[in-house]
């Protein structure tokens, strides 16, 4: 292994801009708020409590910073996460010490798995009480250690501004991720002169931009030699803002593109070269293309097991070029022929300068034939309402231009399949962690980020019941979120696996008993709603919801035992799909 030394140069632009604030005496809470504002934050999500009273007092008196009060800390962190996914800027969440902080853990892990820039500020007991099992004390930097990019326990009020600056820098650069700032209550109340350091000092941190030119040349040579190339784009392409370059490269070369769940919309799904999503519930033609290609170019995609299926039989005939900003992803799950560590946007620009046009039309025709022969399909029989139909109608009505959030489960996969997406940052879904309950608070965050956008939460009945208290947040702030609830009264994906792999023994996946009347539930929060049970009611109901200026919930009571197909069983080969 060669000696590797990280880049020592660090920018200090924001520090210089902050000079006018320097020298003013403030409380720790005020310093934190001012530092957030200097980082360009105008919106935070959170939930107050004993250890953050001084901070909340500063928020009360803040000039620019606005705060959204959710009804659960997990709702706040998911909202901040979605805010970041929609805007590309770090989301900020605040919670109190102890249970407030531990309630963030799922959301922090969620952001970590999906590489979302997030800054979580947690209250902590006073510094001299730390380590004494004090009331509402939890070692949150310890608890979140494996799911954060970095974390800080603030020990001096004078450090706050610099820590905020560094936290935003780390959260939003390189491979983005969550950063925790744990702020003891006495530090938040203590006073100090505001000082925004002009320069950051993080000698152990490096941000890859361009790929190694030799490896770029090798990739170009392999493209020239290949006859059946395919591109698989992942969330890294979205984070890099690489859509224009990706489109240009693909149109120049005429190579089919597959987008993972995290990359939906990074390449327009109505483009003829788009093959949709790969993997467990991907399209048959995407999986066939991966299985048959002789060159696979992965751009910001980490070869998750839901994408690869059985690793040994993944892209068996292909050489693999792996472009990733995180060197540790390369070679982690699959063997790679050409590793390129770099920012997807920069690497694509490098490739664009060197690639030569080649005729791949035979390969394209073969892929298009698969697409004609094995399209996504479901049977629409009379009498029952098909969830796929509902989601297809949402797509047709919104033409792929709405911001869609989802929970996790069958409805999520149907949304990924049937709700095509043509722009990046408009399909907001919990990919890596697979967090049920994500969809509703994510819709809150998305709507707050884009007040004028149409935001639709495609929800499951199991998932919605995990976070339904956030209906109150929607109501309080008058957010015009539309909730399309796909209600099959099951934990549908659990039931599907039980049907296919556990002899139809539906162990604790039936939620019919005890399921609420969701329209009444919405009504209890002052949110309009209606129930739909027939196909012909779907479109009018969706039109009504979309044309209603405030929030609206539609409960679609769908066929209970519908399955998501195609399906590659866990650990199976991509070209062996059930229900193709």
């Amino acid at each position: 292994m060669p000696v590797v030394t990280k880049n020592k140069k660090r920018g200090g632009l924001l520090g210089n801009l902050a000079a006018k604030e320097n020298g003013q005496e403030m409380t720790g809470g005020e310093i934190l708020v001012k530092a957030l504002e200097l980082e360009g934050v105008d919106m935070v999500f959170g939930y107050p409590g004993g250890a953050v009273l001084a901070l909340y007092d500063a928020i009360f008196r803040a000039e620019k910073l606005q705060h959204i009060l959710t009804r659960h800390e997990q709702g706040a962190v998911h909202a901040a996460d979605a805010y970041a996914r929609v805007t590309g800027r770090p989301g900020v969440v605040i919670a109190t010490s102890g249970p407030g902080a531990t309630n963030l853990v799922t959301g922090i892990a969620n952001a970590y798995m999906d590489s979302v820039p997030l800054v979580a500020v947690t209250g902590q007991v006073a510094l001299d009480m730390v380590g004494k099992d004090s009331f509402q004390e939890a070692d949150i930097t310890g608890i979140t250690l494996p799911v954060t990019k970095y974390s800080y326990l603030v020990k001096d009020v004078k450090d706050i501004a610099g820590i905020v600056q560094e936290a935003f820098f780390l959260a939003s650069t390189g491979r983005p991720g969550p950063v925790v700032i744990d702020l003891p209550k006495d530090i938040a109340a203590a006073k100090a002169e505001f000082f925004y350091p002009p320069q950051l000092n993080v000698p152990g941190y490096r941000i890859p931009k361009n790929g190694n030119s030799q490896q770029i040349k090798q990739a170009v040579r392999m493209l020239a030699e290949a006859s059946r190339p395919v591109i698989v784009a992942g969330g890294g392409a979205v984070n890099a803002g690489a859509s224009p370059e990706l489109l240009e490269l693909v149109e120049k070369l005429g190579i089919p593109v597959i987008s993972t769940l995290m990359a939906k919309g990074v390449f327009p799904e109505n483009h003829p070269l788009s093959l949709g999503m790969p993997g467990m519930h991907g399209t048959a033609y995407a999986n066939y293309a991966i299985s048959a290609c002789d060159l696979l170019i992965s751009i910001g995609m980490r070869f998750d097991d839901r994408v690869t299926g059985k690793v040994d039989t993944f892209a068996p005939k292909a050489k693999i070029i792996h472009v990733d900003i995180d060197a540790a992803e390369i070679g982690k799950n699959v063997r790679v022929d050409v590793p390129i560590v770099g920012d997807a946007k920069f690497v694509l620009q490098q490739l664009l300068q060197l690639v030569e046009v080649k005729d791949y039309s035979q390969w394209r025709d073969r892929v298009y034939r698969w697409r004609r022969e094995f399209p996504l399909k479901y049977t629409q029989d009379c009498g029952s309402l098909k969830p796929q139909y509902v989601i297809e109608q949402i797509y047709h009505l919104t033409r792929g231009e709405a911001i869609i959030t989802t929970d996790v489960g069958q409805h999520q996969m149907w949304a990924a399949q049937y709700c095509r997406c043509h722009y990046p940052r408009r399909f907001i879904s919990s990919g890596g962690l697979g967090t049920m309950g994500f969809g509703l608070p994510a819709a809150v965050g998305a709507q707050v980020a884009k007040p004028d956008a149409l935001v639709i939460d495609i929800a499951g009945d199991g998932s919605l019941q995990m976070m339904s208290q956030e209906l109150a947040t929607i109501r309080q702030y008058g957010l015009p979120v539309k909730i399309a609830l796909i209600n099959n009264q099951y934990l549908g994906m659990v039931r599907q696996w039980q049907e296919l792999f556990f002899g139809r023994r539906y162990s604790h996946s039936d939620m019919a008993e005890g399921g609420p009347d969701f329209v009444k539930l919405a009504d209890a929060y002052g949110i309009k709603g209606m129930r739909v049970t027939k196909s012909e009611e779907v479109r009018p109901a969706l039109e009504l919801a979309i044309n209603t200026p405030e929030a609206f919930l539609i409960e679609f009571v769908v066929e209970r035992e519908e399955n998501v197909f195609p399906m590659v069983p866990a650990g199976g080969s991509l070209n062996k799909m059930l229900g193709r």
């Binding site: 292994m1 000696v3 590797v4 030394t5 990280k6 930097t141 310890g142 250690l145 494996p146 990019k149 970095y150 974390s151 326990l153 780390l170 993080v202 000698p203 152990g204 941190y205 995180d326 060197a327 540790a328 390369i330 070679g331 982690k332």
Partner: protein
């Protein structure tokens, strides 16, 4: 195969936890880990001995390097380097066996640093092979306690 990694890290709170946590979370095996500050008090140096095939070692290196507090990382396994370990051992020693133990101590250029009524504490430094040899030479007398620092290492020559 065992690899020896020389790692420079920022001397910040929690850095040891981050590295130890990384090894346990990713399922890597630490053979030994020694840490102390360098000539620059803001920087600590760790010598980590880790067991694994090339693929595992490559991942260990990349995952370590990804940690924000890690400044520089070198796998010195294939380099010319000096390595040492400090070792204290307490062995049973009555007047009848003391002479024999002292001979072993001389052979290994170790030192007796404490004499008790029925025991001795011996201090030795050396590479892993030497330390293991002393330990097995002393085993017949009855080992009461052993403490080892883990390996520290430095590459030979100017670099």
């Amino acid at each position: 195969m065992k690899h020896t990694l020389a790692v420079l890290v920022e001397n910040r709170p929690g850095v040891l936890t981050r590295i130890a946590g990384l090894f346990s979370r990713r399922g890597y095996n630490i053979d030994s880990l020694a840490v102390g500050r360098t000539e620059n008090p803001a920087i600590s140096r760790m010598t980590i001995v880790v067991e694994g095939d090339d693929r595992v070692i490559e991942q260990v290196g990349k995952q370590l390097y990804k940690l924000i507090d890690v400044i520089k990382l070198t796998d010195i396994t294939d380099e010319e380097y000096v390595d040492r370990e400090l070792f204290l051992i307490k062995v049973n020693a009555d007047p009848a066996t003391r002479g024999e133990i002292m001979q072993i101590v001389d052979i290994f250029r170790a030192r007796i640093v404490d004499i008790g009524k029925n025991s001795l504490i011996i201090e030795a430094t050396g590479d892993e092979g030497k330390i293991n040899a002393i330990e097995s030479a002393l085993r017949p007398f009855g080992i009461r306690e052993v403490v080892r620092t883990g390996k520290i290492a430095m590459v030979r020559g100017p670099k």
